[in-house]
């Protein structure tokens, strides 16, 4: 009995030491992680918003638009709402990915940026480049957001070859965001 108790205490002590060690490191790193995240989001938001000012972001979870994580209105210089900034979550080849997008009220895309992702370097990772999102820019209102290789020009289709899963992941969430913004405009 005494032996069991001793063994238990040793195991408990090891767990306690390890957990407090982790807690200490967490208290040091957590603020920095949050700050990094916020800075990255802000930078991406600035890059995609086309000169409009993003308002306060609200976290949402909508059953019809599962990809949309957060919505912020974009205001023009005169104070009118000119569009929406959306944080979209989807999945690519390497796991989950986050896309920051901005749309005009008619649902056409102003700009988009892939932020968090685990795509393969040299293939899916290409989507982080600015030229990648040019495939979608301006589309969404009259022309639908391309979601398959057949919707793309030949040169664009060549650029995404080898990374179709990434393309599918990104294009489907961008289309969802566009549909959402269009529905907002109709209300």
């Amino acid at each position: 009995m005494k032996n069991y108790l001793k063994t238990g205490i040793i195991l408990f002590a090891i767990c306690a030491v390890c957990a407090s060690l982790c807690a200490f490191v967490n208290s040091v790193t957590a603020p920095r992680i949050a700050a990094n995240q916020a800075a990255a989001n802000l930078e991406a938001a600035k890059a995609v918003s086309g000169g409009m000012t993003p308002g306060e972001s609200v976290n949402v979870s909508l059953p019809e638009y599962p990809a949309i994580r957060a919505v912020a209105p974009l205001t023009k210089d005169n104070g009118d709402i000119g569009g929406y900034l959306l944080e979209l979550g989807g999945s690519g080849y390497g796991g989950s990915l986050t896309v920051i997008t901005a749309y005009y009220t008619d649902g056409s895309l102003i700009g988009a940026k892939l932020t968090n992702n685990s795509e393969t370097a040299g293939l899916g990772k290409k989507a982080e480049n600015d030229w990648y999102m040019d495939m979608f820019k301006g589309k969404g209102a009259d022309v639908a957001i391309p979601t398959s290789k057949n919707d793309l020009a030949e040169s664009e289709a060549a650029a995404i070859s080898g990374a179709t899963i990434t393309f599918n992941g990104i294009s489907s969430v961008i289309r969802q965001g566009s549909d959402y913004v269009k529905a907002q405009g109709a209300k």
Binding site: I10, I33, N117, G122, G162
Partner: protein, 212 residues
């Protein structure tokens, strides 16, 4: 100082090519040289931490709770690594993704704890950890270099957001052999490399025999 403990992991007992441990991160993150270096550094950190810790505690931990204690210690070091990397090297953290957490179940680390650190002195355990970790890193980097050069036509030595060192291989970067960057390529490269090592070892043994 026993240099044998340091050098054995690099070639003679190389964890990847000779004892075949820690396969899943090896194949999954070897798409870029920088990822391989990052993963290797992570494994060295965890291996060094756990080996030293376990070697220090080898007389305190009763045999019956050996494995759970080792697992807790290893998992703590992995958690610390994850948090530090998330805070200071976000790009690398994202690129390694889930495979960073999976260092916990990397057989190399538990294997070294079980086979070496709980029997040897702290210094020897630390040397063993560095040797094995460097051996792992070199093997991983070799696979990554082959896959990146042929699969993407580039060599990414450093990729820290602000500081980038990327070489482009002329000719290959325009039309790389993409399959090598995909999962199938990892398995093929690993198979051929292992065959090469088998052939090489056999050749050396034969030579040694003839010399006798």
């Amino acid at each position: 100082m026993n240099t044998k403990e340091l050098t054995k992991g690099i070639f003679k007992e190389n964890p990847i090519f000779i004892i075949m441990l820690g396969m899943c991160p090896t194949l999954a993150v070897s798409t870029q040289v920088w990822n391989a270096i990052g993963m290797g550094a992570g494994v060295i950190f965890v291996l060094l931490g756990s080996n030293i810790f376990i070697s220090l505690l080898k007389n305190i931990i009763p045999d019956s709770i050996r494995i759970p204690s080792y697992i807790v210690i290893i998992a703590s070091f992995v958690t610390i690594l994850e948090m530090v990397m998330h805070a200071f090297m976000v790009d690398l953290y994202n690129a390694l993704g889930i495979y960073l957490s999976l260092i916990v179940v990397n057989c190399i680390i538990l294997g070294r704890a079980e086979a070496f650190a709980n029997k040897n002195s702290v210094l020897d355990s630390a040397l063993d950890a560095i040797g094995m970790g460097v051996g792992f890193t070199l093997g991983l980097t070799l696979i990554a270099a082959i896959r990146e050069i042929f699969g993407a036509g580039t060599i990414t030595l450093i990729n820290l957001g602000d500081i980038n060192v990327v070489f482009e291989v002329p000719g290959l970067s325009e039309s790389p052999i993409r399959v090598l960057a995909l999962s199938a390529g990892a398995l093929l490269v690993m198979g051929y490399l292992k065959a090469f090592f088998t052939w090489y070892t056999a050749k050396n043994e034969k030579k040694a025999k003839e010399a006798k």
